[in-house]
């Protein structure tokens, strides 16, 4: 459980709610022949949680590195607080906090030493460093581990410590790269709760790079779906689901995986837009309720037992996989 405020009475950093604090235009970066980020246009508003969603290799980490001035773009431009991270990198990094995908702790140093090093690098005095480190260790309930070397820490403990480190200096923007990977469910919930409160209660802007749909859908104000470095779609989770999911998803319980014959029968029904075998049957997308009725009739009339059927709202998972399966052009309008 992560308790209390991480900001020790310092007033919330952002009184510019809604102002655009991160802008990218045509931002692109390649490594040798591989395009990592491709013509990315993005606006991030103060106090919002924006999830960069995509599979491994989608360009999420490269985007974070570009925004924080760690990498230089091949093309395009970026502004963070109106500054170019490529030329004003130190100033930008002074106002941002980063949780990298691997916790990046030196295992030969203790938890306290790892945090104090970062505090000193952030320009805090020795006394202030110690005070803030104590505060964060308390907050993340790691005080009893403060004097242990981090080499022996579990993944969860390392993540928590890295999170404490990212918050040491009250950053206005937080870049969180896969913050919950390797965490157990309870720790995941604590971290996602914390991220939510950072934005809602403390006005921090959070850029969350993740491939976990549930996490993104639960805490993000908006989601940007990246694929092979390109922005496939951006918007509020509900809006994305409504705009991108063509049709109504439905699950059909056949008491086991659908046979190829059953899939072919469903596919032949007019109004069926997608069909996919699942462990207990089929997930399909239909144009309307009438189509659903025709599907059920077609299955039962050919001797297939139907144990249940339900129609539901499109989830972010539906949207995500639809994006993965679909040509880029279909979504460019939404992305703009």
């Amino acid at each position: 459980m992560i308790a209390g405020t991480p900001f020790d009475g310092v007033s919330p950093a952002v009184d510019r709610e809604g102002e655009v604090v991160i802008t990218t235009r045509d931002l692109s970066r390649s490594f040798d022949d591989r395009v990592a980020v491709d013509a990315l246009d993005l606006d991030v508003h103060a106090g919002e949680v924006l999830a960069l969603l995509g599979p491994n290799g989608a360009g999420k980490t490269t985007t974070v590195r570009l925004l924080n001035g760690v990498l230089a773009p091949d093309r395009g431009e970026t502004r963070v607080f109106g500054m170019d991270p490529n030329t004003d990198g130190i100033e930008v990094r002074r106002r941002t906090g980063v949780l990298t995908e691997t916790a990046g702790l030196d295992g030969r140093l203790t938890a306290r030493e790892n945090l104090e090093f970062t505090a000193r690098m952030r320009g805090l005095s020795k006394a202030e460093s110690r005070r803030r480190v104590d505060l964060q260790l308390d907050r993340f309930e790691m005080h009893d581990m403060a004097e242990y070397r981090t080499a022996g820490f579990s993944t969860g403990q390392r993540k928590r410590l890295a999170m404490a480190r990212a918050l040491l200096h009250d950053p206005e923007i937080l870049f969180l790269d896969e913050p919950t990977s390797g965490l157990d469910p309870a720790a995941t919930r604590d971290v996602t709760d914390l991220i939510g409160s950072l934005a809602r209660e403390h006005g921090r802007t959070v850029l969350l790079a993740t491939h976990f749909l549930g996490e993104a859908g639960r805490i993000a104000d908006r989601m940007a779906v990246l694929d092979h470095g390109r922005l496939r779609a951006i918007g509020r989770p509900d809006d994305l689901a409504a705009e991108l999911w063509n049709g109504v998803p439905a699950d059909i319980d056949l008491g086991g995986p659908a046979t190829s014959e059953a899939i072919a029968i469903v596919a032949s029904v007019e109004g069926v837009m997608r069909q996919e075998a699942r462990a207990t049957g089929l997930t399909i997308s239909v144009r309307d309720r009438t189509t659903m009725a025709r599907v059920l009739t077609a299955l039962t009339s050919t001797g297939h037992a139907v144990y249940g059927a339900s129609m539901r709202r499109a989830s972010m998972e539906d949207v995500y996989f639809a994006l993965e399966d679909s040509p880029m052009e279909s979504f460019e309008q939404v992305a703009r």
Binding site: V10, A13, F31, R65, N68, G69, V70, L71, A72, G89, I90, E91, R93, R94, R95, T96, G97, V98, T100, T102, A103, G104, L105, D106, G107, R108, L109, E113, F117, T118, R120, M121, R122, G123, L124, R149, A162, H169, D170, P171, E172, F175
Partner: protein
Amino acid sequence: MTLAQTPRNHQVFGIDWPVVRAVVARDLRAIRRSKAVIIPMLLVPFLLLVVLPLLVGIAARRASSPTSTISFLDSLPAALAGPIASLPPDEQLLTLVLGYLLAPLFLIVPLMVSAVLAADAFAGEKERHTMETLLHLPIADRDLFIAKFLTGFLPAVAISWIGFTAFAVVANAVSWGIVDGLIVPNGLWLVVIFWVAPAVATLGLGIMVRVSARSRTTQEANQLGGAVILPLIFLAVGQATGLLLVDLAVAFAAGAAVWMVALFLVWRGASKFTRDRIAGNA
């Protein structure tokens, strides 16, 4: 204004020294706790500067063949051989071995220590995945390079000088009663210690910075960088055969040449040490 926005003004010559000091202090603290780094870093100087001169000194004390020393001295430059030849015969061998022949071997110490530390400071950061975290901190590329350079340079020079002090104690103790006065420090050793050794440490760093940029692990960097020791082995062999024994002026000039090459390599390494290259290669 939040804490993150607080301006800082600690720069001298455009370098943020508190930040540089923080990196150096962290690296040295971590190195002190790393057996894989600290053991070779201390063991090799101990063997070269304590055990070897002790054994060689004892053997030289027992040697009863001043004629071979005299014939060896005949092959040396006159400026170098003269002072040794003017010594009493029983002092000549000890003075030659401890005062001159071991000098190039001593240079292995700054070279090896700087190479080991540079591999840990550059390739090691990548291996431990701590480099990424460092790159996201508000430190300039140049300041980070200076910090990493000092992490290798300062201990290399310190260990060399402490090692030389130990060597001087052993060399003078083992020749006690035979040699009248102190064998070391002599002029050649002083040039080696204060002029050539820092240059060699810088050379090791310059090479290892380049090697580490291409390596993903400390082991890989050490293997690639291990070749830097070879020229010194040749130098030691040359010294033992009398081919490379030099007088003070030549030693000083050789040191200057090493400095030039070393500083060129460091300058090249610094110019290529950018976040973009490091992160792109991570």
